[in-house]
């Protein structure tokens, strides 16, 4: 009996040990298959001294750590799902040779690099970081300087461009590139970037369902933000200041423009927001301050403008024909030289419940709505549209007199273009 018990004891301990081995074996297998990813360090004194070499030896899912230093490299191709992370902003200097980083794989993250000297070319659009036909990319905390194109996304979807700083030195439109460019992309988020002194700060072409928010785009040669043939995009809480023109939205549908600031886009051909062939958009809660033209509208239909502030612009809204069924509601028009300019006598747009600082009517029944309608189009702006040379008479006493008489009895301006319910108090 005792012997039998001994045998059992020995058996159970053997089984227990085997079980333990099994667990260890399993964990080992598991870590090999899912990749207990390697970390490769790149620095000037390390074994690996260039990013290119690091990418060559790396395997998928690895992380490449780039230490502080300067790396003179260009045409770096990231063709594996890697995370490239910079420590204290290592400098990748392209030495004006051409493109610097090209991502051709899915699931790539680029974080914390300082990339300078992208080559200028008249035949190909060299970019600091170009993403080609890839998914789930993340580009963040990157600083770009002395660039041609900054971040160029090409046929790439479901990615994020977050918290980058792009500072160009564009002088002329013909030999400069865009800060962030999206070409045939879908579902990309562009968020908290700063773009300065490039041609177009952010440029979208054939890109749908893009979210652009909390970016600051200033001092760009052409537009702060530019849409072409892109639909269903949203941009919110961005600031556009001192650009050749703030934002241009062209040939696009269902764009939402919410709570942005358009500031000081001032010059003879400048404007805050340009709309050309735009349908079914929503423009709400934006502030247009000190632009030559707040919004320049051409051939755009079914747009609702609500709760925007137009402050001290040359023209708050300039309508250039072929604009139907637009609604302006609950906006503030404050101290603009011209509130609304129209070049035709036909009007199909609705202005209602806005606050106009130059409204001189009264409110006897104290319901907060002026008792007499307001006519936002001045005769002078009508004349200027007809004969542009007459603008030279601006601020002449004669013009004030004819504006006043037109206000009293409209003859030339569209007689149904009135705000029947002008607000007596500024809309908060």
């Amino acid at each position: 009996m005792e012997r039998i018990e001994d045998i059992f004891k020995q058996l159970s301990t053997a089984l227990r040990i085997a079980f333990l081995y099994k667990i260890v074996f399993f964990i080992a297998c598991f870590s090999i298959t899912t990749g207990w990813a390697k970390t490769i360090t790149v620095c000037n004194t390390c074994e690996i001294t260039s990013l290119k070499k690091a990418i060559a030896v790396a395997e998928a899912e690895d992380t490449i750590f780039v230490k502080e230093g300067t790396y003179n490299e260009f045409n770096i191709i990231v063709d594996k799902p890697l995370t490239i992370k910079g420590e204290n902003f290592p400098v990748i200097d392209g030495e004006d040779q051409g493109e610097i980083i090209r991502i051709t794989s899915d699931n790539v993250t680029i974080d914390g690099l300082f990339i300078i000297n992208v080559g200028t070319s008249y035949t190909s659009d060299h970019a600091a970081i170009r993403v080609v036909k890839s998914e789930n990319f993340l580009i963040q905390n990157v600083v770009l300087e002395k660039l041609f194109f900054g971040i160029y996304l090409e046929k790439s979807n479901n990615g994020k461009v977050y918290h980058n700083k792009i500072i160009g030195d564009a002088q002329d439109e013909y030999n400069s590139g865009n800060g962030i460019q999206l070409w045939y992309c879908k579902n990309v988020v562009v968020n908290r970037n700063i773009v300065q002194k490039t041609r177009d700060g952010i440029y979208l072409e054939f890109s749908d369902n893009i979210t652009i928010d909390n970016n600051i785009s200033t001092e760009n040669l052409r537009y702060g933000l530019h849409f072409m043939f892109s639909n269903d995009d949203v941009y919110t809480n961005n600031t556009f200041e001192n650009n050749g023109a703030g934002v241009a939205v062209m040939f696009s549908k269902r764009i939402k423009m919410l709570n942005n600031t358009f500031h000081k886009n001032w010059g003879t051909a400048a404007f805050g927001l340009l709309l050309k062939e735009i349908n079914d958009a929503e423009i709400s809660g934006n502030t247009f301050e000190e632009n030559t033209v707040g919004i320049n509208i051409e051939g755009s239909n079914r747009i609702t403008y609500t709760r925007n502030n137009f402050i001290r612009n040359g023209y708050a809204v300039k309508v250039l024909g072929a604009c139907y069924t637009n609604v302006f509601k609950h906006n503030n028009f404050l101290y603009n030289s011209f509130d609304v300019s129209y070049n035709s006598r036909i009007n199909d747009n609705v202005f209602v419940n806005n606050y106009w600082s130059s409204y001189t009517g009264y409110d006897l029944d104290r319901d907060g709505i002026g008792d007499i309608p307001y006519r936002p189009v001045k005769l002078f702006s009508y004349i200027v549209n007809r004969t542009p040379e007459t603008i030279i008479l601006m601020r002449s006493l004669f013009i004030d007199i004819i504006d006043f008489s037109e206000k009293v009895s409209p003859v030339f301006t569209p007689d149904n273009l009135v705000d029947e319910n002008p607000q007596m108090k500024k809309i908060e």
Binding site: G267, T268, A269, E389, I392, L393, M394, F398
Partner: protein, 260 residues
């Protein structure tokens, strides 16, 4: 001439109207800057006031002074003094006292609000220069009108008419011709037409210096190109000088021949 000038000048400086005029500008300057501390914005508002008001005050004051001091003038004419000296002296007395009211009245508040630290200083100087020119021009024109008309009522109405024409009607005609001739290139025409009216010329010279010039678009660019060059600017200045000199020559000529 200087004796007469001195006499006219001190006579005017002691008069109530000079003070009213001075205090008006002082009040205007201080109120404007009190309401809005931005000097360059205040310059725009002042421009509106100056191009309308300065010519009006210049004409009315000039005509009034001439008629008021007529008896004294006749007394002087009996003395062995050159006729031109008498009238030019009186003219300068009026023009200088009005200009001083303008310069002190506007200059003082702006200096107190830190004009010298501001970038608007050249815009402001231009404003004062054109304001002074407008005073000189319209006072001279007023003296001309008064010399040609013995009848006070007639003289006053002509003076008012002159102001109305320059400040309002001229622009109306200008606008009409621009619209009627819109088929033709109008750049040279509109530059020419502004040179012929000192009020328009001052308005455009100031507008071009301000931010608001961006609103003028293409036309503004043409004007900027013309007045921005040394040649254009000196042409504008010489047009203003001519507007002073020609009426003065006429005062000189007329006063020599006129029967009193």
């Amino acid at each position: 001439m200087f004796k007469i000038l001195k006499y006219s000048f001190f006579d005017l400086v002691r008069s109530r109207w000079s003070y009213v005029y001075l205090f008006f500008y002082l009040a205007l300057g201080f109120v404007l800057l009190f309401l809005n501390n931005d000097l360059s914005k205040a310059v725009i508002t002042l421009m509106n006031v100056i191009i309308i008001l300065v010519p009006l005050i210049g004409t009315i004051f000039g005509v009034m002074y001439y008629y008021d001091s007529k008896e004294f003038t006749e007394l002087l004419l009996a003395q062995p003094i050159k006729r031109a000296d008498i009238f030019l002296g009186q003219y300068l007395g009026v023009a200088i006292s009005l200009s001083l009211s303008l310069l002190i009245g506007l200059g003082l508040p702006f200096i107190l609000y830190g004009l010298f630290q501001s970038t608007a200083i050249w815009d402001f100087v231009l404003l004062l220069v054109t304001g002074t020119f407008l005073t000189l021009i319209f006072t001279a024109l007023a003296f001309n009108i008064a010399l040609y008309n013995e009848n006070k009522i007639k003289g006053f109405s002509y003076a008012i008419l002159l102001w109305l024409f320059m400040a309002v009607i001229y622009d109306g005609l200008f606008l009409m011709s621009l619209i009627l001739l819109e088929e033709y290139p109008l750049d040279t025409f509109s530059i020419g037409a502004t040179l012929f009216n000192p009020i328009d010329l001052s308005r455009i010279l100031i507008l071009l210096k301000l931010d608001i010039s961006a609103l003028l678009g293409y036309t503004g660019a043409v004007f900027q190109k013309f007045f921005g060059t040394g040649l254009g600017f000196s042409m504008a200045l010489s047009a203003l000088v001519l507007w002073v000199v020609l009426p003065l020559l006429n005062i000189y000529r007329k006063s020599r021949k006129k029967d009193f």
